[in-house]
Subunit: 209 residues, 2 copies
Amino acid sequence: MKFLKIPAATITRLSLYTRALEDLVVEQVTVVSSKTLAELCGVNPAQIRKDLAYFGQFGVRGVGYYVKELLFDIKKILGLNKDWNLAIVGVGNLGCALVAHENFTKQGYRFRAAFDADPMKIGRKLTTGLLIHAPDKLGEVCRTEGIEIGVICTPPNFAQDIANRLIEVPVKGILNFAPTQIQVPEGFRVENVDFTVKLDNLAYHLTAG
Amino acid sequence: MKFLKIPAATITRLSLYTRALEDLVVEQVTVVSSKTLAELCGVNPAQIRKDLAYFGQFGVRGVGYYVKELLFDIKKILGLNKDWNLAIVGVGNLGCALVAHENFTKQGYRFRAAFDADPMKIGRKLTTGLLIHAPDKLGEVCRTEGIEIGVICTPPNFAQDIANRLIEVPVKGILNFAPTQIQVPEGFRVENVDFTVKLDNLAYHLTAG
Protein backbone atom coordinates (compact mmCIF):
# COMPACT_ATOMS: atom_id res chain seq x y z
CA MET A 1 0.00 0.00 0.00
CA LYS A 2 1.78 3.16 -1.18
CA PHE A 3 0.35 6.66 -1.08
CA LEU A 4 2.81 9.07 -2.56
CA LYS A 5 3.04 12.81 -1.92
CA ILE A 6 0.61 12.86 0.98
CA PRO A 7 1.39 16.02 3.00
CA ALA A 8 2.89 15.29 6.42
CA ALA A 9 0.23 17.56 7.94
CA THR A 10 -2.49 15.29 6.51
CA ILE A 11 -0.98 12.27 8.25
CA THR A 12 -0.80 14.20 11.53
CA ARG A 13 -4.44 15.25 11.16
CA LEU A 14 -5.55 11.68 10.34
CA SER A 15 -3.93 10.72 13.61
CA LEU A 16 -5.95 13.41 15.41
CA TYR A 17 -9.15 12.27 13.69
CA THR A 18 -8.67 8.76 15.10
CA ARG A 19 -8.49 10.25 18.63
CA ALA A 20 -11.83 12.02 18.16
CA LEU A 21 -13.43 8.98 16.52
CA GLU A 22 -12.29 6.77 19.38
CA ASP A 23 -13.94 9.12 21.86
CA LEU A 24 -17.14 8.94 19.77
CA VAL A 25 -17.02 5.13 19.85
CA VAL A 26 -16.77 5.27 23.65
CA GLU A 27 -19.77 7.66 23.69
CA GLN A 28 -21.62 5.14 21.47
CA VAL A 29 -22.10 7.67 18.67
CA THR A 30 -22.58 5.73 15.43
CA VAL A 31 -22.75 8.50 12.80
CA VAL A 32 -20.98 11.86 12.78
CA SER A 33 -21.24 14.77 10.34
CA SER A 34 -18.01 16.22 8.95
CA LYS A 35 -19.04 19.48 10.68
CA THR A 36 -19.18 17.84 14.12
CA LEU A 37 -16.04 15.80 13.55
CA ALA A 38 -14.28 18.97 12.38
CA GLU A 39 -15.30 20.82 15.56
CA LEU A 40 -14.04 17.97 17.73
CA CYS A 41 -10.70 18.08 15.93
CA GLY A 42 -10.36 21.85 15.72
CA VAL A 43 -10.17 21.93 11.92
CA ASN A 44 -12.68 22.95 9.24
CA PRO A 45 -14.96 20.39 7.54
CA ALA A 46 -13.40 21.00 4.11
CA GLN A 47 -10.02 20.04 5.56
CA ILE A 48 -11.33 16.65 6.71
CA ARG A 49 -12.87 15.95 3.32
CA LYS A 50 -9.66 17.02 1.57
CA ASP A 51 -7.46 14.87 3.83
CA LEU A 52 -9.65 11.80 3.33
CA ALA A 53 -9.91 12.34 -0.42
CA TYR A 54 -6.25 11.34 -0.79
CA PHE A 55 -7.22 7.83 0.18
CA GLY A 56 -10.58 7.27 -1.48
CA GLN A 57 -14.26 7.87 -0.91
CA PHE A 58 -15.50 8.06 2.68
CA GLY A 59 -18.82 8.94 4.27
CA VAL A 60 -22.31 9.20 2.84
CA ARG A 61 -23.59 12.48 1.41
CA GLY A 62 -26.31 13.96 3.65
CA VAL A 63 -25.61 11.43 6.36
CA GLY A 64 -22.01 11.82 7.42
CA TYR A 65 -19.44 9.27 8.45
CA TYR A 66 -20.09 5.94 10.12
CA VAL A 67 -17.86 6.32 13.17
CA LYS A 68 -16.52 2.76 13.52
CA GLU A 69 -16.10 2.32 9.79
CA LEU A 70 -14.16 5.58 9.38
CA LEU A 71 -12.02 4.79 12.42
CA PHE A 72 -11.22 1.36 10.97
CA ASP A 73 -10.36 2.84 7.58
CA ILE A 74 -8.12 5.61 8.93
CA LYS A 75 -6.33 3.17 11.24
CA LYS A 76 -5.72 0.95 8.25
CA ILE A 77 -4.30 3.90 6.29
CA LEU A 78 -2.01 4.80 9.20
CA GLY A 79 -0.89 1.21 9.70
CA LEU A 80 -2.60 1.06 13.09
CA ASN A 81 -4.78 -1.96 12.36
CA LYS A 82 -2.02 -3.95 14.06
CA ASP A 83 -0.10 -3.63 17.32
CA TRP A 84 3.46 -2.34 17.18
CA ASN A 85 6.23 -3.73 19.39
CA LEU A 86 8.35 -1.03 20.97
CA ALA A 87 11.57 -1.00 22.96
CA ILE A 88 12.42 1.87 25.27
CA VAL A 89 16.09 2.75 25.69
CA GLY A 90 16.77 4.93 28.71
CA VAL A 91 14.32 4.65 31.58
CA GLY A 92 14.90 7.90 33.42
CA ASN A 93 11.94 10.16 34.25
CA LEU A 94 10.93 10.60 30.63
CA GLY A 95 11.31 6.93 29.69
CA CYS A 96 9.24 5.84 32.69
CA ALA A 97 6.58 8.42 31.88
CA LEU A 98 6.32 7.11 28.29
CA VAL A 99 6.10 3.43 29.23
CA ALA A 100 3.32 4.21 31.72
CA HIS A 101 1.47 6.61 29.38
CA GLU A 102 -2.00 5.25 28.65
CA ASN A 103 -2.16 6.71 25.12
CA PHE A 104 0.49 4.33 23.83
CA THR A 105 -1.39 1.22 24.84
CA LYS A 106 -4.69 2.70 23.68
CA GLN A 107 -3.20 3.24 20.21
CA GLY A 108 -1.72 -0.25 19.97
CA TYR A 109 1.87 0.62 20.85
CA ARG A 110 3.24 -2.03 23.21
CA PHE A 111 6.49 -1.61 25.10
CA ARG A 112 8.03 -5.11 24.99
CA ALA A 113 11.59 -4.35 26.08
CA ALA A 114 13.44 -1.78 28.20
CA PHE A 115 17.12 -0.91 28.45
CA ASP A 116 19.23 1.33 30.66
CA ALA A 117 22.96 1.70 31.23
CA ASP A 118 22.57 2.40 34.96
CA PRO A 119 23.78 -0.70 36.91
CA MET A 120 21.30 0.20 39.67
CA LYS A 121 18.42 -0.21 37.20
CA ILE A 122 19.56 -3.29 35.25
CA GLY A 123 17.68 -6.40 36.37
CA ARG A 124 14.94 -4.37 38.07
CA LYS A 125 11.39 -4.07 36.77
CA LEU A 126 9.41 -1.01 35.73
CA THR A 127 5.99 -0.46 37.36
CA THR A 128 4.46 -2.06 34.27
CA GLY A 129 6.41 -5.26 35.01
CA LEU A 130 8.88 -4.77 32.16
CA LEU A 131 12.41 -6.00 32.99
CA ILE A 132 15.26 -3.51 32.47
CA HIS A 133 18.16 -4.96 30.45
CA ALA A 134 21.73 -3.75 29.99
CA PRO A 135 22.36 -2.04 26.62
CA ASP A 136 24.67 -4.90 25.52
CA LYS A 137 21.60 -7.17 25.46
CA LEU A 138 19.85 -4.83 23.03
CA GLY A 139 20.31 -6.87 19.85
CA GLU A 140 19.41 -10.19 21.43
CA VAL A 141 16.36 -8.98 23.38
CA CYS A 142 14.98 -6.88 20.52
CA ARG A 143 15.20 -9.81 18.11
CA THR A 144 13.55 -12.19 20.60
CA GLU A 145 10.72 -9.74 21.29
CA GLY A 146 10.22 -8.81 17.64
CA ILE A 147 10.81 -5.11 18.32
CA GLU A 148 9.77 -2.91 15.39
CA ILE A 149 10.28 0.58 16.80
CA GLY A 150 13.01 1.80 19.13
CA VAL A 151 12.23 4.74 21.41
CA ILE A 152 15.35 6.64 22.49
CA CYS A 153 15.15 8.48 25.82
CA THR A 154 18.85 8.53 26.70
CA PRO A 155 20.96 11.62 27.38
CA PRO A 156 21.95 13.22 24.04
CA ASN A 157 25.55 11.93 24.05
CA PHE A 158 24.40 8.28 24.03
CA ALA A 159 21.66 8.65 21.42
CA GLN A 160 23.74 8.02 18.30
CA ASP A 161 25.33 4.85 19.68
CA ILE A 162 21.93 3.50 20.67
CA ALA A 163 20.51 4.43 17.28
CA ASN A 164 23.33 2.48 15.59
CA ARG A 165 22.55 -0.58 17.68
CA LEU A 166 18.82 -0.31 16.98
CA ILE A 167 19.48 -0.03 13.23
CA GLU A 168 21.66 -3.16 13.49
CA VAL A 169 18.91 -5.22 15.17
CA PRO A 170 17.26 -4.23 12.77
CA VAL A 171 14.26 -2.24 13.98
CA LYS A 172 12.08 -0.54 11.35
CA GLY A 173 12.05 2.96 12.79
CA ILE A 174 13.13 5.16 15.67
CA LEU A 175 11.26 7.67 17.79
CA ASN A 176 13.91 9.97 19.25
CA PHE A 177 13.28 12.02 22.38
CA ALA A 178 16.97 12.81 22.98
CA PRO A 179 17.65 16.48 22.20
CA THR A 180 20.14 15.77 19.43
CA GLN A 181 20.14 15.04 15.70
CA ILE A 182 20.67 11.33 14.93
CA GLN A 183 22.40 10.22 11.72
CA VAL A 184 20.78 7.21 10.05
CA PRO A 185 21.23 5.43 6.69
CA GLU A 186 19.18 6.85 3.82
CA GLY A 187 15.63 5.54 3.82
CA PHE A 188 15.66 4.69 7.51
CA ARG A 189 12.86 6.48 9.33
CA VAL A 190 13.40 8.60 12.44
CA GLU A 191 10.82 10.87 14.05
CA ASN A 192 12.22 13.41 16.48
CA VAL A 193 10.12 14.65 19.37
CA ASP A 194 11.11 18.11 20.54
CA PHE A 195 8.73 19.47 23.17
CA THR A 196 10.02 22.99 22.74
CA VAL A 197 8.76 23.16 19.14
CA LYS A 198 5.21 23.18 20.54
CA LEU A 199 6.24 25.90 22.97
CA ASP A 200 7.66 27.94 20.09
CA ASN A 201 4.28 27.63 18.38
CA LEU A 202 2.62 28.88 21.53
CA ALA A 203 5.13 31.73 21.93
CA TYR A 204 4.57 32.78 18.31
CA HIS A 205 0.82 32.96 18.72
CA LEU A 206 1.01 34.70 22.09
CA THR A 207 3.31 37.30 20.54
CA ALA A 208 1.64 37.68 17.15
CA GLY A 209 -1.94 37.30 18.38
CA MET B 1 3.29 42.39 15.15
CA LYS B 2 0.61 40.42 13.33
CA PHE B 3 1.23 37.94 10.53
CA LEU B 4 -2.05 36.52 9.33
CA LYS B 5 -2.60 33.22 7.53
CA ILE B 6 0.88 31.86 8.14
CA PRO B 7 0.65 28.05 7.81
CA ALA B 8 1.17 26.24 11.11
CA ALA B 9 3.79 24.07 9.37
CA THR B 10 5.79 27.20 8.55
CA ILE B 11 5.89 28.17 12.22
CA THR B 12 7.00 24.66 13.16
CA ARG B 13 9.74 24.77 10.52
CA LEU B 14 10.93 28.22 11.66
CA SER B 15 11.31 26.64 15.07
CA LEU B 16 13.44 23.85 13.56
CA TYR B 17 15.53 26.40 11.63
CA THR B 18 16.43 28.13 14.91
CA ARG B 19 17.74 24.78 16.28
CA ALA B 20 20.06 24.34 13.27
CA LEU B 21 21.15 27.98 13.34
CA GLU B 22 21.97 27.73 17.04
CA ASP B 23 24.18 24.71 16.32
CA LEU B 24 25.92 26.74 13.58
CA VAL B 25 26.53 29.58 16.03
CA VAL B 26 28.16 27.11 18.42
CA GLU B 27 30.32 25.83 15.54
CA GLN B 28 31.27 29.48 14.82
CA VAL B 29 29.85 29.34 11.30
CA THR B 30 29.02 32.91 10.24
CA VAL B 31 27.38 32.42 6.82
CA VAL B 32 25.26 29.51 5.58
CA SER B 33 23.76 28.82 2.17
CA SER B 34 20.08 27.95 1.95
CA LYS B 35 21.21 24.58 0.54
CA THR B 36 23.31 23.74 3.61
CA LEU B 37 20.71 25.06 6.04
CA ALA B 38 18.07 23.01 4.22
CA GLU B 39 20.17 19.85 4.56
CA LEU B 40 20.67 20.45 8.28
CA CYS B 41 16.91 20.84 8.71
CA GLY B 42 15.85 18.01 6.42
CA VAL B 43 13.83 20.25 4.09
CA ASN B 44 14.47 21.57 0.60
CA PRO B 45 16.04 25.02 0.02
CA ALA B 46 12.93 26.35 -1.75
CA GLN B 47 10.92 25.57 1.39
CA ILE B 48 13.20 27.70 3.55
CA ARG B 49 12.99 30.62 1.13
CA LYS B 50 9.20 30.28 0.95
CA ASP B 51 8.81 30.11 4.74
CA LEU B 52 10.99 33.18 5.26
CA ALA B 53 9.29 35.11 2.46
CA TYR B 54 6.16 35.43 4.61
CA PHE B 55 8.09 37.69 6.91
CA GLY B 56 10.25 39.77 4.59
CA GLN B 57 13.57 39.67 2.78
CA PHE B 58 16.33 37.56 4.31
CA GLY B 59 19.79 36.53 3.15
CA VAL B 60 22.02 37.88 0.41
CA ARG B 61 21.84 36.49 -3.12
CA GLY B 62 24.97 34.52 -3.96
CA VAL B 63 26.17 34.64 -0.35
CA GLY B 64 23.51 33.00 1.81
CA TYR B 65 22.29 33.86 5.26
CA TYR B 66 24.26 35.51 8.02
CA VAL B 67 23.78 32.91 10.75
CA LYS B 68 23.45 35.16 13.82
CA GLU B 69 21.34 37.72 11.97
CA LEU B 70 18.90 35.11 10.66
CA LEU B 71 18.70 33.45 14.08
CA PHE B 72 17.94 36.80 15.67
CA ASP B 73 15.28 37.60 13.07
CA ILE B 74 13.52 34.21 13.29
CA LYS B 75 13.57 34.33 17.09
CA LYS B 76 11.99 37.76 16.90
CA ILE B 77 9.29 36.42 14.55
CA LEU B 78 8.59 33.53 16.92
CA GLY B 79 8.52 35.75 19.99
CA LEU B 80 11.67 34.11 21.34
CA ASN B 81 13.71 37.30 21.70
CA LYS B 82 12.57 37.26 25.33
CA ASP B 83 12.48 34.64 28.09
CA TRP B 84 9.14 33.07 28.95
CA ASN B 85 8.12 32.28 32.52
CA LEU B 86 6.58 28.83 32.87
CA ALA B 87 4.80 26.97 35.65
CA ILE B 88 4.68 23.20 35.72
CA VAL B 89 1.59 21.58 37.23
CA GLY B 90 2.07 17.91 38.08
CA VAL B 91 5.62 16.82 38.85
CA GLY B 92 5.43 13.09 38.24
CA ASN B 93 7.93 11.40 35.94
CA LEU B 94 6.96 13.49 32.92
CA GLY B 95 6.84 16.80 34.81
CA CYS B 96 10.27 16.15 36.33
CA ALA B 97 11.67 15.20 32.93
CA LEU B 98 10.39 18.45 31.39
CA VAL B 99 11.71 20.72 34.14
CA ALA B 100 15.16 19.12 33.83
CA HIS B 101 15.17 19.08 30.00
CA GLU B 102 18.00 21.23 28.68
CA ASN B 103 16.15 22.32 25.54
CA PHE B 104 13.68 24.42 27.50
CA THR B 105 16.36 26.55 29.14
CA LYS B 106 18.34 26.77 25.89
CA GLN B 107 15.28 28.19 24.13
CA GLY B 108 14.55 30.73 26.86
CA TYR B 109 11.74 28.85 28.61
CA ARG B 110 12.20 29.17 32.39
CA PHE B 111 10.28 27.08 34.87
CA ARG B 112 9.58 29.53 37.71
CA ALA B 113 6.92 27.61 39.65
CA ALA B 114 5.91 23.99 40.28
CA PHE B 115 2.72 22.49 41.69
CA ASP B 116 1.58 19.03 42.70
CA ALA B 117 -1.39 17.70 44.64
CA ASP B 118 0.64 14.94 46.35
CA PRO B 119 1.11 15.90 50.04
CA MET B 120 4.41 13.95 49.99
CA LYS B 121 5.75 16.32 47.32
CA ILE B 122 4.39 19.67 48.54
CA GLY B 123 7.11 21.71 50.26
CA ARG B 124 9.91 19.64 48.73
CA LYS B 125 12.25 20.86 46.03
CA LEU B 126 12.88 19.53 42.52
CA THR B 127 16.49 18.72 41.54
CA THR B 128 16.59 22.15 39.85
CA GLY B 129 15.85 23.77 43.22
CA LEU B 130 12.27 24.69 42.35
CA LEU B 131 9.89 24.47 45.35
CA ILE B 132 6.75 22.36 44.87
CA HIS B 133 3.57 24.17 45.93
CA ALA B 134 0.06 22.87 46.63
CA PRO B 135 -2.42 23.52 43.80
CA ASP B 136 -4.40 25.95 46.00
CA LYS B 137 -1.39 28.30 45.88
CA LEU B 138 -1.51 28.33 42.08
CA GLY B 139 -3.09 31.75 41.59
CA GLU B 140 -0.94 33.48 44.19
CA VAL B 141 2.40 31.93 43.15
CA CYS B 142 1.79 32.34 39.41
CA ARG B 143 0.98 36.02 39.83
CA THR B 144 4.02 36.61 42.05
CA GLU B 145 6.33 34.83 39.59
CA GLY B 146 4.80 36.48 36.52
CA ILE B 147 3.94 33.11 34.94
CA GLU B 148 2.98 33.44 31.27
CA ILE B 149 2.60 29.79 30.23
CA GLY B 150 1.19 26.91 32.25
CA VAL B 151 2.42 23.40 31.47
CA ILE B 152 -0.06 20.70 32.49
CA CYS B 153 1.40 17.27 33.34
CA THR B 154 -1.35 16.01 35.63
CA PRO B 155 -3.40 12.84 35.18
CA PRO B 156 -6.17 13.49 32.61
CA ASN B 157 -9.00 13.80 35.17
CA PHE B 158 -7.34 16.83 36.84
CA ALA B 159 -6.33 18.65 33.66
CA GLN B 160 -9.53 20.69 33.13
CA ASP B 161 -9.62 21.96 36.72
CA ILE B 162 -5.97 23.00 36.51
CA ALA B 163 -6.59 24.65 33.13
CA ASN B 164 -9.47 26.66 34.65
CA ARG B 165 -7.20 27.85 37.47
CA LEU B 166 -4.42 28.77 35.05
CA ILE B 167 -6.86 30.75 32.90
CA GLU B 168 -8.03 32.57 36.03
CA VAL B 169 -4.46 33.62 36.99
CA PRO B 170 -4.42 34.63 34.10
CA VAL B 171 -1.63 32.94 32.15
CA LYS B 172 -1.38 33.69 28.42
CA GLY B 173 -1.30 30.12 27.14
CA ILE B 174 -1.21 26.46 28.10
CA LEU B 175 0.95 23.57 26.96
CA ASN B 176 -1.03 20.42 27.73
CA PHE B 177 0.65 17.04 28.10
CA ALA B 178 -2.36 15.36 29.77
CA PRO B 179 -4.01 12.92 27.36
CA THR B 180 -7.35 14.72 27.31
CA GLN B 181 -9.01 17.59 25.44
CA ILE B 182 -9.15 20.79 27.51
CA GLN B 183 -11.99 23.30 27.05
CA VAL B 184 -10.85 26.92 27.08
CA PRO B 185 -12.55 30.27 26.31
CA GLU B 186 -12.48 31.34 22.67
CA GLY B 187 -9.20 33.00 21.73
CA PHE B 188 -7.27 31.36 24.57
CA ARG B 189 -4.32 29.40 23.23
CA VAL B 190 -3.65 25.77 24.10
CA GLU B 191 -1.08 23.50 22.45
CA ASN B 192 -1.57 19.80 23.06
CA VAL B 193 1.39 17.46 23.07
CA ASP B 194 0.48 13.91 22.13
CA PHE B 195 3.54 11.69 21.77
CA THR B 196 1.58 9.03 19.95
CA VAL B 197 0.87 11.36 17.01
CA LYS B 198 4.59 11.14 16.16
CA LEU B 199 4.38 7.36 16.48
CA ASP B 200 1.38 7.32 14.14
CA ASN B 201 3.49 9.22 11.63
CA LEU B 202 6.21 6.63 11.98
CA ALA B 203 3.73 3.74 11.70
CA TYR B 204 2.26 5.27 8.54
CA HIS B 205 5.64 5.58 6.86
CA LEU B 206 6.77 2.11 7.98
CA THR B 207 3.58 0.67 6.53
CA ALA B 208 3.25 2.77 3.38
CA GLY B 209 6.97 3.09 2.66
